[in-house]
Amino acid sequence: MGKKKRIFAGLATVTSAVVLLAAVQRLLQPKYMSDVVEGNLIASYYDTGKDHDVLFIGDCECYENFSPVEMWRDYGISSTIRGSAQQLIWQSYYLLEDTLRYEKPDVVVFNVLSMKYGEPQSEAYNRMSIEGMRWSKSKVNCIKASMTEEESFLSYVFPILRYHSRWSELTADDFKYYFGAEPNFFSGYYLRADAKPAENVPKGTPLIDYSFSENCWNYLDKMMSLCAENNIQLVLIKAPSLYPYWYEEWDEQITEYAEKYHLPYINFLDPSIQEQTGIDYAADTYDGGLHLNVYGAEKLSRWFGAYLAERYDLRDRSGESKLAAEWDEICARYDAEIARQLKNLEQYGNVKGE
């Protein structure tokens, strides 16, 4: 065999091995379509337009409590949520970095619940928060900051190393959505149209130490300076979820921090604000107070949209035809999803229609 031919044969073998492994990897990776749909949240950002005035970062208290569609319809504010389940503060920070690679919003809203976690928590949530990110220095740093002891960086680079054992658990979804997931979210919002009243919400048990960890403060500082550098207004919020319990002592620390750095901080659990938003915990939550349903989210967004528009001078952009076309598509899907869920509720008693 000639030298050229030899090299060609070697390259062909290596290439086919890589291609085949990549193909199998795609099959084995979870598709997050029927069950834990939250796994697709982070990646869904890259498929949408990149022209947002407001960016939400944070955990489920963001992506289940605010409806960007409502803010668009009422005020012409283009917003998106880069939320994921149990998103830790450093993940929020690196997602902010990542988003700034594509666009520069006027306002960044951060939900402060994740201040309570000073250390990496759960491998599964890490996966859902990180894997959807496109590769960048931010993603690398995010992985390094998030890994639990049992995890390895390599398995983020080659997810097949993590998911290889799913071969025995493949479902129809894995083949159906092989080439990509269907859009499930509405500018990062996870929509639920059912209701389950909040009853007997447990009070928080006393903690030994209420102070947030040094690590979290560092990332909050970094988040603040990154926003300042980019001329972005950072707004801290605590979403109106009744549980996990938000301690008075925690609230005081955030309030103090916000005052010190002249940041706005809105605690939506505050009775005076609750009165204004008009959240009704008997009707506006779908899981007994943990997360709002679409009615609650719309109420909250109406209030918050007005707040942001007024304070930060956000123009009504509904007249911009390109942007409006993008939002029309999202709004249409949004309405169809509500209709679908309501129909399922009527027919089967649940939104999934099972």
């Binding site: 086919s16 199998v24 398995s155 290889h164 071969w167």
Partner: protein, 530 residues
């Protein structure tokens, strides 16, 4: 470090690529640097032990060689004036002088191993004996961390020293080259124990890139990984469950445990050796085979010629023969011939050295009584079967059916099972417990566990059993096909395309069906602890 650590895999790939990029005369230096790096990663302090071994062996072998040369010169110079007896006396004196250096080398190195590996065990046993005599004082027991692969590289290096003493080949003059022989990284995890005259040539040659050799090497590595991650690591949870909960897992469970453990140790050990030899093949360094389809052996003596071959031959060449033919042994033989009869005298040396060798073999496997008992049990079985050989021969002559393939198969199964039984000592790690569990096989009648779903509660699910089942069929098929020469080589000669497809398929199988990653404890190599 394990073969399955990602750092090892990445390092290996990088090393192989660089190996073929640097000029040939530097390749062995690259291997040396890689080996030192690899060993330093396992624990920087371990390098000290290895350096002591390499340096002491280097200096002493050179010294012995010089002495031998000087002695020869002296004899040649006095050729005409010395009588035969004088020459003989001088030679023997010179040899015994050299022998003292060899002893120094052996004592120093094995002494190091003895302290590190057996120190705690010895002290504990001394304390037990003190207790028997009513003493209340106890010696403080200090535990050392056994450096990885010490039992492998130390035995390999001492074999080299003995060979130089015996003037089998000249000593290595370059310390760095000897260092590579001592530290060659693929052998540090699970052996084998190579001989200098087999390994050295390949190590320093700086071999070129040969597509066929590299392809076959890569396939052998992947086959090794297949055995390790798809079979050995997959069956491990069941082995752990069976040996850790011994109150519940009795009777038929013990039998299943023997089968699981047999699979585990076979797949783990032969898989590791496949990886080692495969790496050697990629680099163009022939490494001695350590296994030859051991489970096809008709009897236990044959089994030990086919399982962990390099350890067996090491003990044979450097322990069994020297003990058997040493002066005291011959005197013992002579004495017993006169006092106890011709037959006893004839076999006594063999018996004594067999028992001694198996005692040490047991000890080599681990510093605990269960390994010693295991070794001695092997000796007992070997000696019994040796005594019964004439009877077997008569049996096979008398009954034609005992010479069929089917009966050969039966004997192979019998040997495999017998070895599995002995391996219980290794499995349960406690001599009385092993005997107790062995006993439950006879009085605890619970065959229903085979079909009532109990086997599903051992940490193995249906997919696990599926992979194991298919894997065992593959192993067996490969073994059968391999009897007529290397399967990989035949496939490559037939069709290079098919051979490439097999490489890719093996890689996919290992990656997808291997038991590794989160939710699964990547277990330590069993042979790594020795």
């Amino acid at each position: 470090m394990l073969f399955t650590d990602s750092i090892f895999v990445i390092g290996l790939i990088l090393l192989c690529i660089i190996y073929f990029l640097v000029p040939k005369r530097f390749r062995w230096m690259l291997l040396l640097a890689g080996s030192i790096g690899f060993y330093a990663y396992s624990g920087p302090l371990n390098l000290i032990y290895m350096a002591v071994t390499a340096l002491s062996t280097y200096l002493i072998t050179l010294r012995m060689e010089k002495m031998a040369a000087a002695a020869k010169e002296t004899v040649a110079a006095h050729k005409s004036e010395w009588s035969r007896d004088e020459k003989k006396a001088f030679k023997e004196k010179a040899k015994s002088k050299r022998f003292r250096w060899l002893v120094l080398c052996l004592v120093l190195n094995f002494g190091m191993l003895a302290v590190v590996k057996y120190g705690a065990f010895t002290l504990r046993n001394i304390n037990t004996v003190i207790g028997w005599f009513g003493g209340s004082k106890r010696l403080p027991v200090k535990h050392f961390l056994l450096p990885m692969g010490m039992s492998f590289y130390l035995f390999q290096t001492m074999g080299y020293a003995i060979d130089v003493y015996r003037e089998k080949y000249p000593a290595e003059k370059n310390f760095a080259r000897l260092g590579l022989f001592v530290s060659f990284f693929p052998q540090l995890i699970q052996g084998p124990i190579s001989r200098y005259d087999d390994l050295a040539k390949g190590l320093y040659a700086g071999n070129g890139y040969d597509p066929k050799r590299v392809t076959l090497g890569v396939q052998r590595i992947l086959w090794g990984y297949f055995k390790k991650v798809c079979l050995a690591d997959r069956v491990m949870p069941a082995v752990t469950a069976l040996i850790s909960n011994t109150d519940q897992h009795q009777g038929m469970y013990v039998l299943m445990g023997i089968l699981y453990y047999t699979l585990r140790i076979y797949a783990d050990f032969t898989g590791g050796i496949d990886i080692t030899i495969g790496i050697g093949q990629v680099l163009g360094i022939p490494i001695t085979e350590n296994f030859n389809r051991p489970f096809f052996s008709k009897n236990i003596t044959e089994y030990w010629r086919r399982w962990h071959i390099t350890l067996g031959t090491w003990f044979k060449d450097y322990l069994f023969y020297p003990i058997s033919v040493c002066q005291p042994m011959l005197k013992l033989s002579k004495w017993s011939r006169e006092k106890l009869g011709k037959n006893v005298g004839k076999y006594l040396p063999v018996y004594v050295s067999t028992i001694a060798v198996w005692f040490v073999t047991g000890l080599w496997h681990g510093a605990a009584w269960n390994f010693i008992v295991w070794g001695l049990m092997n000796a007992v079985v070997i000696l019994i079967s040796e005594r019964l050989t004439p009877l077997y021969n008569k049996f096979h002559k008398k009954y034609a059916w005992s010479n069929t393939r089917a009966y050969d198969g039966f004997m192979a199964l019998r040997t495999t099972f017998l070895m599995g039984l002995l391996r219980m000592f290794d499995c349960y790690l406690d001599v009385p417990l092993t005997f107790k569990m062995f006993g439950t096989m006879f009085y605890k009648w619970n065959p229903q566990i085979l079909w009532d779903g109990s086997l599903m509660k051992l940490g193995l699910s249906k997919p696990d059993y599926l992979v194991l089942g298919v894997g065992i069929v593959l192993l067996f098929t490969a073994s059968m096909l391999g009897r007529r020469g290397s399967v990989r080589e035949r496939l490559y000669d037939k069709s290079k395309l098919l051979s490439c497809c097999m490489t890719v398929a093996l890689l996919l199988i290992v990656v997808v069906f291997g038991a590794y990653g989160i939710g699964y404890d990547s277990s330590q190599f069993i042979y790594n602890q020795f």
